[in-house]
Amino acid sequence: MKKKEIQQGLRDGIPIALGYFSVSFSFGIMAAGGGLSVFQAALTSLTNMTSAGQFAGLQIIIAGGAFLEMALTQLIINLRYALMSLSLSQKLSRNVTMGQRLVIAFANTDEIFAVAMSHGKELSFSYMAGLQVLPVLGWTLGTACGAAAGNLLPASINNALSVALYGMFIAVVVPAARKAKPVLFAAVLSALLSCLFYYVPAFSGLSAGVSIIICTVAASAAGAVLWPVEEDT
């Protein structure tokens, strides 16, 4: 482990950790509202390190869905991480061992991936470990604090904070949709399908997880067929 590389990683991880703390606070409130204990909420965040996946998973836990439904939902929503891990593996230094890869894979989140890929040099284990440790702490502690505080806060604050996670989702989608019309099309299609399943009584038997899977697969497939992305994207 090189001290300088670890320090550089830690420094790059601070803004991610701060952002994670505030957003996972909102996840903690939701988890506690759904009946999870503070420990269960924090454990979910510590072991998953994914906002969208955890959020969908929480809906399934609350609804008492099947384990297979849970596994499938996570697979579809988190499949994009396979692509990120694939890209990341190309940028890792040659002397990163298999054991170290097992550690690095654990917290390869959207934000950590983005920072790692924009790092000028090839990635050492020291840098990656430094980069990941604070965001993992921030994500877990934020969830624990949110779950603990959720029941103590007045309803007005609770209501306000409960849109934080959705706000972050919007912040990911809108700039991409502005830049690329196909993304706008796919996102709008997905939202329309989601509303259809929510409001039309014929679909009321559809669980939250299944609805998310169908919307995601159908809208992404439509986008892929109508506007396949060019190479190197």
Partner: protein, 99 residues
């Protein structure tokens, strides 16, 4: 106990997705349609989870709509994730003060 089973399933699936391409399978995905499909997934799944759920996340529909509007406008101008999330919260809070 069942909650821990759910958490274990979630964590295992998510970890396998991340670890397999980093350890065993290093090659690049060549199929253009599969690559395109995966490119759209983050946007479609986040949108499906946000709508219409966000409309019922707060005390009432009006404050929720204020939150959506604030988030969409700031996101359009490419503000950071935390700024957009905070603005959405603030919009909900302020709207509910006046209702």
């Amino acid at each position: 106990m069942k909650v821990y089973m759910y958490i274990a399933v979630m964590a295992l699936v998510t970890y396998l997705i991340r670890v397999i391409p980093l350890t065993v399978f290093h090659e690049r995905i060549e199929n253009r349609y599969l690559r395109s499909f995966l490119y759209y997934v983050p946007y479609t799944c986040l949108t499906a989870m946000t709508f219409p759920a966000i409309l019922y996340a707060t005390g009432n529909l009006k404050s929720a709509l204020a939150g959506v509007a604030a988030a969409v406008v700031l996101a359009f101008y490419k503000k950071s994730l935390v700024t957009v999330a905070a603005a959405a919260c603030l919009a909900v809070f302020v709207t509910e003060l006046f209702l």
